[in-house]
């Protein structure tokens, strides 16, 4: 039985009011959705709020999902839109619970355990990632968004075009411009 078939069955049941099916559906994309929100909002509490709000929207509007696209792509689109709404409504940033911590002028990424590399390499890698992520915040929202979706979350061009509801050509040019801009920013910071 294919994953697509199982997903369709779950969607069908969820549309008919089956709560367990709905919870199974959102559980399958919850982790990625949370990390998208976390990169957008840079705050765990805000990210969880965005995630909850998104899932409630999905629950309410499940019957409008036409199954033209994949369910998780539809979910991520809603998460992205919810995050953008939250950013527009509220630009405040709670630094206390942030995955980033202000250390003077410098922002550092919260420690994430990683045992795959040697400690020195881990530190070096984390430092570099931290630097890139702090530079990412200096890009405009559209550029930051496309880097999150493509380079952090690893969505394909097609998936991004569905999530952002734009053409593949737009995605291609946006990705290239955003990366070049991020590189420029990194060089300026160095």
């Amino acid at each position: 039985m294919s994953a697509d078939f199982i997903e369709k069955q779950l969607i069908k049941k969820a549309k008919n009011g089956d709560e367990n099916s709905f919870e199974s559906l959102i559980l399958s994309c919850q982790g990625r959705a949370f990390n998208i929100a976390l990169r957008y909002l840079r705050n765990e509490e805000d990210a969880l709020d965005a995630l909850q709000e998104s899932f409630i929207k999905i629950y309410r509007n499940l019957n409008t999902f036409k199954e033209d696209s994949k369910f998780d792509t539809w979910v991520y689109r809603i998460v992205v839109n919810t995050c953008n709404d939250m950013i527009r409504k509220n630009n405040r940033r709670k630094n206390t619970d942030s995955i980033y911590r202000n250390d003077g002028e410098k922002e550092t990424v919260l420690e994430i355990p990683d045992v795959s590399d040697a400690p020195e390499e881990v530190y070096d890698k984390k430092e570099k990632q931290d630097h890139i992520l702090s530079c990412l915040e200096k890009l405009n929202p559209g550029q930051k968004e496309i880097i999150i979706l493509r380079d952090i979350q690893g969505f394909t061009y097609e998936e991004i075009s569905e999530i952002l509801e734009c053409s593949i050509g737009t995605v291609k040019s946006k990705i290239n411009r955003s990366r070049l801009k991020l590189r420029e920013t990194l060089l300026e910071q160095n």
Binding site: I26, L51, I56, L180
Partner: protein, 311 residues
Amino acid sequence: MKCNKIRKMLSLYIDKMLDDNLQKEVEEHISACNLCKKRYDDIKDMTTLLNEAEMVPVPESFEFRMKKALQQERAKISGEKNIAVPAKKNNKLRMLTSIAAIFAVGVISFGLYQDIIGDLPDQLDGVTDQLSQDRALTDQPESDLYKSNKNEGDKEIENLENSAGVADDVPEQRMNIYGNTKSAEPEKPESGIAHIPEDDISDSGIDEGNDGYSEDYSIKMKMSTDEFSRALTTSGVERNVAAVQYYTGIIEERLGDFKYEILNADFIQAGECRFRIYIFSGKGYKFKEEILAVGKDGEIEFIYTNELMGL
């Protein structure tokens, strides 16, 4: 291929989104161009590092939080559904209540107005004082007189007539001024007043004169004070009630020596009020004469009157 063109295709090259030929062309350029090679390396490292950024796990507490939120949402949706049905009923109920309220206000207003109008002529014309006098002069119980004063229609007139009839020396002309034949002794027929048969009333010159009226608020004959005022009110001429009362007071003063009856009151235009009046004489209050009283600027002018009436 120029560096500028390669620059635009770098990301697509890194993501292997180019055609094989272009992919190969960019590869060759990068291997030959240090500037483009540096740019490519930077972007490649950058994207690799970002892609290797650790995924943050969703806090375990979120599962409970989400279940609770969904539970609340379900309750909210079912609540909305439950509310949605009676909401329509409420609208109907609200509409019915509104109609009932409007009706109740109308009835109460009419009742209050009726009470006010019922008392007004008495207050204006000093009948209250006379009734007090009547009460003192007659043996009738006070309650009867009081009742008669508040009763409507003929009952009121009868009581008033009775009280007036007993008290001979009380001026009776103020008792019933709106189209009610006085009960006192019939006035002596004035000599020279021509008798006009009742059949000829419709052909009188006064009727012809009424043809040009723009508004006709004709009031039926033999109305009580209340009925007269009410008729005007329900005809939408509340504003004219005060004028009618004022002018009928003057008519009463002028025709106090005659037995008369106001047939109707017509409003031609603002400020002008015409009264058709029958003058009676002889036993059985036989119709004698029809006159027209025109009230304007606070004055009453009688027309179509016999000169001998001295009006």
